[in-house]
């Protein structure tokens, strides 16, 4: 095959070459654009593809919404259950606190009286005197009582040993001066203690003992700090 080298053929060849260059070049640019558009999501998708995508997303969204709704319901159920539980717990807590307070297991404060008892040279206080005082205070409506910071509870004993010292709560030895604190209606407590002739104050003073009674708006009484065990008794079923 001979190669023609006349001017016309050369021009034709060059032009055809340029055209093929343009054509193939633009084709490859297009190929790359299409390839790339398939890789990079949404923006490069065709309309129908977009439609299916949207449909898929929509159904997925609906599913998720459903799931979300169910989850939300479950959560609200849980929350209401928790609230109920909390209420029950709160009630129990309150009851426990009240019981503890009444039993004397918590530090308490309130209005009341502070009574100071001192032995004199003529006479000394006996356990019976203290018992009488505690009894009178209880009768007058005292809600909490302590002697020298030993809390009086329902099991408290006040005994005198060999007429030489007084023991309270089984092992605390106390001696004069005795500071008796009581929380209750202070007016009522005061009037009960100060009854003419038969009140505690007068009775003690007749016996030459020193008594000071002082009303206070803020009496603080410590809790009963020893362990309380029920070893023998059992609850009746």
């Amino acid at each position: 095959m001979t190669i023609k080298r006349d001017k016309e053929t050369i021009i034709l060849s060059v032009i055809v070459g340029i055209i093929s260059l343009l054509l193939v070049g633009s084709m490859f640019i297009q190929f790359r654009a299409v390839d790339k558009s398939e890789e990079s999501n949404l923006e490069g998708l065709r309309e129908d593809e977009l439609k299916t995508q949207i449909a898929t997303y929509k159904s997925r969204y609906e599913e998720t919404m459903e799931q979300y709704e169910t989850n939300r319901n479950t959560i609200s159920e849980y929350i209401s259950t928790i609230a109920e539980n909390k209420e029950a717990t709160d009630l129990l807590d309150k009851e426990l606190n009240e019981s503890s307070m009444l039993l004397g297991l918590t530090d308490v404060e309130g209005e009341g009286v502070i009574i100071t008892l001192r032995d004199t040279e003529e006479a000394i206080y006996s356990a019976d005197d203290l018992l009488m005082l505690v009894n009178e205070l209880k009768y007058a409506g005292a809600e909490a009582i302590s002697i020298n910071d030993n809390r009086i509870i329902n099991l408290t004993d006040i005994i005198s040993i060999n007429n030489s010292f007084i023991v309270i709560n089984s092992d605390a030895r106390i001696s004069s001066p005795f500071t008796v604190k009581a929380i209750g209606d202070k007016a009522y407590l005061m009037s009960t203690l100060n009854l003419k002739n038969s009140g505690f104050v007068d009775l003690m003073r007749i016996n030459n003992l020193e008594v000071e009674v002082e009303a206070s708006d803020n009496v603080q009484i410590n809790k009963y700090s020893k362990p309380m065990n029920a070893e023998i008794m059992k609850e009746v079923q």
């Binding site: 053929t9 050369i10 055809v16 055209i19 070049g25 790359r32 654009a33 790339k36 558009s37 923006e43």
Partner: protein, 121 residues
């Protein structure tokens, strides 16, 4: 010579296509229609070459003007919300098949003639 330049041009085109930055997807639509138009012109050129009425000026003008007009029409269609590019593709591809048919028949004739000659000998 012509075939040689075509091959060189194609190779350079491949190189160019890989070296040049990619075009955005929205523009690729126009490029696609331009490519179809250009392909149509090329096949038309080959067909006319076979029919011995090939004209370089007609070929070049067809190549560029068809591509540009196809792009303009596509743009217009986009503005009018009518898929004019579909019509352009139908026309171009239809013509392409026509021309391909002409080319095919020509070469078939040539081959069958050769066979005939061989069998005559």
């Amino acid at each position: 010579m012509t075939i040689l330049t075509i091959i060189i041009g194609a190779l350079l085109g491949v190189l160019l296509g890989f070296l040049l930055p990619t075009i955005p997807y929205t523009a690729s639509k126009y490029l696609a229609i331009a490519i179809v138009a250009a392909l149509d012109s090329v096949f038309g050129g080959i067909a006319s070459n076979i029919k011995k009425n090939f004209d370089l000026k007609v070929f070049i003008s067809g190549f560029f003007v068809n591509a540009i007009i196809a792009m303009i029409l596509t743009y217009l269609g986009q503005r009018l919300n009518v898929d004019i590019y579909l019509a352009a593709i139908i026309v171009f591809v239809g013509r392409m098949f026509n021309n391909l048919g002409i080319i095919r028949r020509y070469y078939l004739n040539k081959i069958s003639q050769k066979f005939n000659k061989k069998s005559e000998k």
